[in-house]
Symmetry: C2
Subunit: 645 residues, 2 copies
């Protein structure tokens, strides 16, 4: 049963062809085997992971010390979660055997009292739960728990789930509202949403209550992390990138007006808040979710769906601060934004949430990996000059090419689990409605009002906006997302016009349906996109988007000094397929280039001359697949009308 | 005798009125008394200096420990140097008594072996000369030496000079090319130029040879600092902002093609190279100076004469990398650029060097202090949003208001000594030529070809370009700088046209002269300035300049969100005096403003609307005198012609 958490409805899915078919297959064929090798320290030239090693030492199978970060276990967790989703999509005896084996190892590594975290087990067990702020103990437990739930749902095997239930029980014995327990919460949020998943499969009320406690205890007075750091004898200042906002404990969540601090933490917190609110029906908490989500998407999100403007604390900074060349925009943060958007859709079926999910997925998430799925970005800038990355410490985090594997390898396995579970993001059911949020080619089986519905989506979306949907008969309604970039669409049911309503960005058909075929044609012209005038970094600039895909210029197609290029407001924009280019498509335009003066005078009263220049844009997600070169999403616009008086 | 170092010619000067008269008086009346209090830890609320305290402890006058930085002594040195110049300008028995008193203290603090550095004397004398890279020992000695020379020239008293001659002898005993000595050089350059000043007043060849050794030993193999750090058991990586380039020892100076690393260090090195080359006649070293100076001024200098693009290492980054909002552009670096430019003028009387001196002096140097001369900037950005300074760690170094005094107080006393010695930068003689590089109102006495020449400059420059010069009779030539921003000028000698030649940016009159008056009228229109098209940060932007003064927009005059403002290329620019504004002048223009959408949509296919907006510009140096607010030098240009097709 694919269905998990509160992403109600999807029972099974199969992907073949279309845009994501090869990518989801690539996760199975390329990413998961590679990551398995990496987890086992068998990648030549790759940074050591130590992940499996740590479990083996903790299990007493070999001697050694803990290697790597305090959250090293979570890399294995994300791999196992991705494996679970892949097993759900298609059986694979060999992969399942590998997973079962490593789950046995995890069982052996677990302590008798139920505790499981190789870092503390191998470093100093007396220190567990003493530094919740920094040490990712609950975060790691959260990922392990998510993986255990997914594996249980995919295979019906509950060994891993039992391991993690014992760990949750251990946590609940030590942390909670009761006197004598630590009144703490995770420094890096994650376990809140995982506890809700556990609650969904076991009905364990204690899990939900613990999640709720973590959510609401955060930022209460006395401030737990302030006291905790005091006990550790460490100075802890409230301000700056590593102050109280870094881990979102500057205020109780219900009082927070903006998503602050470390962007992945902040968005996992938002997911946990939404999950708790959806299960408890807490309207105040739902309002808080909506407020924080609006803050991000209306004031703190790059046009690529990247979030986290600063590398200092990998964090949000302030409203409308969206510099492209020093962006952090971590791949994991955009994955978390997909997670959060999907949860908002569970609260309200509003197109804006699906729009954000699309923006993050098709741009920053996909940019997080190379087209061959072997190299990965952590940081996803909107403008790169390799010379700056090499010579300027402000931009050293902005890599111009994707490295193979990171010591801190959160992003690659996070991508693997997102891509393997896309069915949960594409579809969902609510009451008698089957919702289609993303147009991902595949065959799905969904549970709508206790009825099984089969739906097949046939499309090359996002290359085109042509979508065919085959539906099985039944008494249910269908809601199809109309992306906000789409201004014109046509729709036919069994080749004919059909009564429908458009509401909140969804095309709604009441049903009931016979076995039938629907055709949806979304007009997908190339559009010029402008940022709000409060965004200083993008003032006077324009970006190109077609469907959900944001485009960029690369040096290899357009020459060096991309900042010299301008796009006239009236220039025709021609889209075409082009298999020679990464991403298989291009936008061509006749643009302009400011010429470098031969004299090299640094300042002059004479403005640089402008000459014509041919521009070639490729999808942003496909950049950096042809070696090190400049890249740019926002470019200067040459204006003919308003701005020129 | 004012004349010092190789800035030949200026014997005496008096300043009254004009642009700099009140500023130079302000140094005496406000800055020096305040700084004296600060050095004595008597400024309520100010950061502790500890400077005098350290000398008192070293002198055995009180118990205590060293306080402050390893270079804390240099704050007193710069204060004493400024005092010396002020005593030269006008006698002041009280100030001289204060200086004599503190010089006695310095004498008492000096060790029997001649060594003088309170940090090592009070911390651990066995460690002296063990960490030349980091510990500013030679830098501090250099500043002390400069002060001693200046005080000797101003007062004829040689007590301080003798102290420093003993310290130089101590250094020369321990460091140098001979076997058994340390083959090192200063981590922070400064003493090279100071040794040349010592050579000029004493004729001590050993001082010049030591300076020459420091210059050429730098970056040789084996690399001294690499070996030194190895001995200290510290890891030292070549790359990054704190690698080998930080202290310019990545290559021998003759092989360096660009000015790299910590900008103040790099420019003090350039000064030392020029000073040595001027005295030894080393043409290869002169070529290296020219190459490095050209690199800075043609590729790495802000339009304000600020240098050092990154706070990481307070350093240069790479050619044409000039971001305004994350600039470091330390006040001291622009002071050093003035020093370097003046030395280049000694090599060749070329207007471009005087242009750079003007650009740095009238913009970044002056911006380093508030108009009341009580508050000081370290960092001089070209664009400031206070919210970013408060909330974004990338811009925390960019202060929106000048603080009172720094723990690391290099900039305020450095300004004091520059402003008190402006006569040396304004004038100079070369053979039979008297050169006027800067138009600073004052009465000067200069030595030209062994003849005393009196010259008085009367002008409100840079508020206008009207300059009167009164000359005493004599057989000498006169060269007057024609700033590169000036395209039209008129010139009269005793009310009539006079034969003259224009060469290398100087108007040259052969003389001989009777007692006479010259009138020079430099046309000073407001100009639009554009950066070279290789500068990505300023692409599509324009700055305003009138005479040597660069202008800026401030929020208090133009409203918030300055990035929303545009200046049409054809808009009339009206300059006027306005005593209500800081700097006493303004430029007005009819500009445009991109309007904030009321919907607050972050991205839209509709470009922001543009409406008319009145623009008010004030001199850049006068910004941040009306509380915390936004500021911006470069603004977007609305183009009517070329760029709009």
């Amino acid at each position: 049963m694919f269905k998990q958490g509160n992403f109600a409805g999807v029972l099974n899915a199969e992907f073949e062809g279309g845009f994501f078919g090869p990518i989801i297959q690539g996760v199975r064929d390329i990413m998961l085997p590679f990551q398995w090798e990496a987890l086992n320290d068998r990648v030549p030239g790759g940074e050591r992971s130590g992940c499996i090693h740590n479990f083996e030492v903790a299990a007493g199978l070999k001697d050694g010390q803990h290697y790597g970060f305090v959250f090293q276990d979570s890399d294995l967790a994300k791999w196992l979660e991705a494996v679970a989703y892949q097993l759900q999509l298609a059986p694979d005896a060999q992969l399942e055997k590998l997973a079962d084996g490593v789950i046995q190892l995890i069982q052996k590594a677990q302590m008798n009292d139920g505790y499981l975290n190789t870092y503390y087990q191998l470093k100093d067990i007396t220190k567990r739960y003493t530094n919740l702020r920094d040490d990712h103990e609950l975060y790691t437990a959260g990922h392990m728990l998510e993986a255990a739930v997914a594996y249980y749902l995919a295979t019906g095997k509950d060994a891993f789930l039992q391991v993690m239930q014992r760990m949750v029980a251990h946590i609940a014995t030590h942390i909670g509202p009761e006197p004598g327990k630590l009144h703490g919460y995770p420094g890096h949020e994650e376990i809140e949403l995982a506890l809700c998943k556990l609650y969904d499969v076991t009905g364990d009320e204690q899990a939900l209550r613990l999640a709720e406690y973590f959510i609401h205890q955060r930022g209460q007075t006395p401030n737990y992390f302030v006291e905790e750091q005091k006990k550790l004898g460490r100075e802890y200042k409230p301000g700056g990138a590593y102050g109280y906002t870094y881990a979102q404990h500057h205020q109780p969540v219900l009082e927070q007006e903006a998503l602050e601090g470390h962007s992945v933490r902040a968005l996992y917190l938002l997911c946990g808040m939404a999950d708790v609110a959806l299960r408890t029906g807490d309207e105040t908490l739902k309002d808080a979710c909506r407020r924080l989500f609006d803050n991000v998407t209306q004031r703190r999100m790059y046009v690529t769906g990247g979030v986290g403007s600063s590398r200092h604390g990998e964090a949000f900074t302030f409203d409308f601060d969206l510099p492209g060349d020093t962006a952090y925009a971590e791949t994991c943060a955009s994955i978390a934004l997909v997670f959060a958007s999907r949860r908002m859709l569970e609260m309200e079926t509003k197109g804006e949430f699906a729009d954000t999910m699309e923006r993050a997925l098709y741009n920053t998430c996909l940019a997080g990996m190379s087209l061959d799925m072997k190299n990965f970005f952590y940081v996803n800038p909107l403008s790169v000059n390799p010379e700056a990355s090499h010579k300027d410490d402000r931009k050293r985090h902005v890599l111009p090419v994707r490295p193979h594997w990171f010591g801190c390898a959160c992003c690659p396995p996070n991508l693997a689990r997102l891509l393997s579970s896309l069915a949960l993001y594409a579809l969902g059911s609510q009451g008698r409605w089957l919702n289609v949020h993303l147009y991902i080619q595949g065959r799905y089986e969904a549970l709508v009002n206790d009825t099984k519905v089969a739906i097949e989506i046939l499309t090359d979306y996002p290359k085109s906006g042509s979508i065919r949907l085959k539906l099985s008969a039944g008494d249910y309604g269908l809601r199809l997302h109309l992306p906000s970039w789409c201004k014109v669409y046509t729709f036919h049911l069994a080749g004919k016009d059909a009564a429908h309503e458009v509401k909140d960005g969804y095309l709604c058909l009441n049903g009931p349906f016979e076995d039938c075929e629907l055709e949806l044609q979304l007009d997908m012209p190339v559009e010029r996109v402008y940022a709000n005038a409060l965004v200083s970094e993008e003032a006077g600039k324009v970006a190109l988007q077609r469907g959900p895909i944001v485009y960029c210029l690369e040096e290899v197609d357009n020459g060096a000094s991309l900042h010299q290029l301008l796009l006239p407001r009236e220039a025709a924009l021609t889209w075409a397929k082009n298999d020679k280019l990464p991403g298989g498509q291009e936008i061509k335009a006749r643009g302009l280039r400011r010429q470098t003066e031969s004299s090299l005078a640094l300042y002059s009263t004479k403005p640089p001359e402008v000459v014509e220049a041919k521009l070639t844009f490729i999808p942003y997600y496909a950049w950096a697949n042809r070696g090190e070169n400049e890249m740019r999403v926002w470019m200067e616009e040459a204006k003919k009308k308003a701005a020129c008086l």
